[in-house]
């Protein structure tokens, strides 16, 4: 698991909040940066990749046993 440029801790938040907070953070990041979202709501596992698809970002990986964590390239 390589280090991301930015980590967003959304643990304890119910969907859609992790996706909303990810979307709020992204405009402040340089293109190509990797964000790791920590989110324990089970819906994040579907909704973060779906958001990437809808917004044209690259979904890199899910780490189910570490957070769980989701890596996104913006």
């Amino acid at each position: 698991m390589s280090e991301p440029d930015e980590t967003l801790d959304c643990r304890g938040q119910r969907c859609p909040l992790p996706v909303i907070n990810l979307a709020r953070r992204v405009p402040g990041l340089p293109a190509g940066a990797v964000v790791r979202v920590l989110a324990d709501d089970p819906a994040a596992a579907v909704d973060i990749p779906a958001w990437c698809r809808m917004r044209g970002h690259e979904f890199l990986a899910a780490h189910p046993d570490a957070g769980p964590a989701y890596d996104v390239r913006v």
Binding site: C15, P16, I20, V46, A50, M54
Partner: protein, 383 residues
């Protein structure tokens, strides 16, 4: 001010067909005796039960002795899965099922695995269509006792390739169980299954009646303690007035099914197109072509599903949702998860024989404003 109600959740329970109501009232007067007894009122009840079975079997194109009435679609699904596994225990202990089965099938599968059996879940694609290559490999593996495939998804409407899946199962010598709850009374039944179940309140019959059909020659054994009723397939006395109503309304619904599908399918097309065009950041899910005539599902980005249901309810619209916040388990729908589509802000709209074009137009006129207001409230409008 509350708007006039528009009920759009037929996939949970369709409003009762007028025929169901009439039949139920008549059978309450005439069919309360125990059909197993040997006196005149019992014989009358037995006649009503036999006639209901004959009518339902004829509508489905099966033999009357292949069809049993169960206490619900859920009970029928449990019996189909567990009985199919028991009947084939010498062939193996593996249940193969799609990833998008109804929870009734998945819970029966959990019971089976908790008792030491195996279950293999076969994936679907982004549109909710069964992966036939994975299905072929799964049913051909050694030790498969039964395969289960939903006829059409109750959550996203995608019709499954039952004939192709049935052929692959037959080549492997594995019987196929089809949960046809969303098809029966609405669409022609596919071929190739050995066991089939349905649920009366999906076609305008009363709640609390299911159908279990076991084709002649299928190795199926009741998973329940012994009981002679319903050919020994499902225990307990049947709710005869409801069964009579179920059979009568099934015949009526099936007679109108083609015309209703021709009326409702274009309304669903309209919802699919207009929601996609008029609500920003929405994902309309499910197969746009191979789908149920009456059901459509979409998800609205950044919107809380529960808040959306409540807002729609306040405007008089009854719909359901597969979003996690609307489920008791706080997990998103396993169907949306298996498809890999957005799960929050999810709405399932399902139409029925009383749905009018005006109902659909009112829903389409109000939805964009309702979603926009929820987004504004949450401060997510420009994300």
């Amino acid at each position: 001010m509350s708007a006039s109600p528009v009920y759009l959740d037929a996939a949970s329970a369709a409003p009762p067909h007028p025929v169901a109501r009439q039949a139920m009232l008549a059978a309450l007067d005439d069919g309360w005796a125990d059909p197993a007894r040997l006196y005149a009122p019992a014989r009358r009840a037995r006649q009503l039960l036999d006639a209901a079975r004959e009518a339902a079997a004829q509508t489905l194109g099966v033999r009357a002795d292949e069809l049993s009435f169960t206490p619900s679609g859920t009970a029928a699904a449990h019996a189909a899965v567990l009985g199919g596994l028991v009947g084939r225990r010498r062939a193996g202990t593996t249940l193969v099922h799609s990833a998008i089965e109804h929870s009734a099938v998945l819970h029966a599968a959990q019971r089976h695995t908790a008792a030491g059996g195996d279950a293999v879940s076969v994936p679907v694609d982004r549109l909710g269509r069964l992966d036939l290559d994975a299905w072929a490999a799964a049913v051909a593996a050694p030790g498969v006792a039964l395969a289960a495939l939903i006829g059409a998804s109750h959550e996203v409407g995608t019709v499954q390739p039952v004939p192709a899946a049935a052929e692959l199962s037959a080549e492997a010598g594995v019987p196929l169980y089809v949960d046809a709850a969303q098809l029966v009374g609405r669409a022609p039944l596919p071929a190739g299954w050995s066991v089939l179940t349905a649920s009366a309140h999906k076609w305008g019959g009363p709640p609390g009646v299911g159908l279990l059909v076991v084709r002649k020659g299928t190795r199926w054994e009741s998973p329940y303690p012994a009981d002679e009723r319903e050919s020994g397939r499902t225990p307990g006395v049947v709710n005869l007035p409801a069964v009579v109503a179920a059979a009568a309304s099934l015949r009526a619904a099936a007679a109108d099914a083609a015309a209703e599908a021709a009326r409702l399918a274009p309304l669903v097309d309209r919802i699919r197109a207009r929601v996609a065009a008029e609500v920003p950041d929405v994902e309309v899910v499910g197969d746009p072509v191979d789908r149920l005539p009456h059901l459509v599902t979409f998800s609205c980005l950044y919107v809380d599903g529960e808040a959306l249901l409540h807002a729609l309810d306040r405007r008089g619209f009854a719909v359901s949702s597969g979003s996690s916040c609307t489920s008791s388990t706080l997990r998103p729908s396993h169907v949306l998860e298996a498809m890999g589509v957005l799960s929050h802000g999810n709405v399932r709209v399902s139409l029925h024989r009383e749905t009018t074009e005006a109902d659909v137009e009112r829903f389409l006129a109000e939805l964009p404003g309702i979603v926009a207001a929820l987004r504004a409230e949450a401060g997510v409008t420009d994300l």
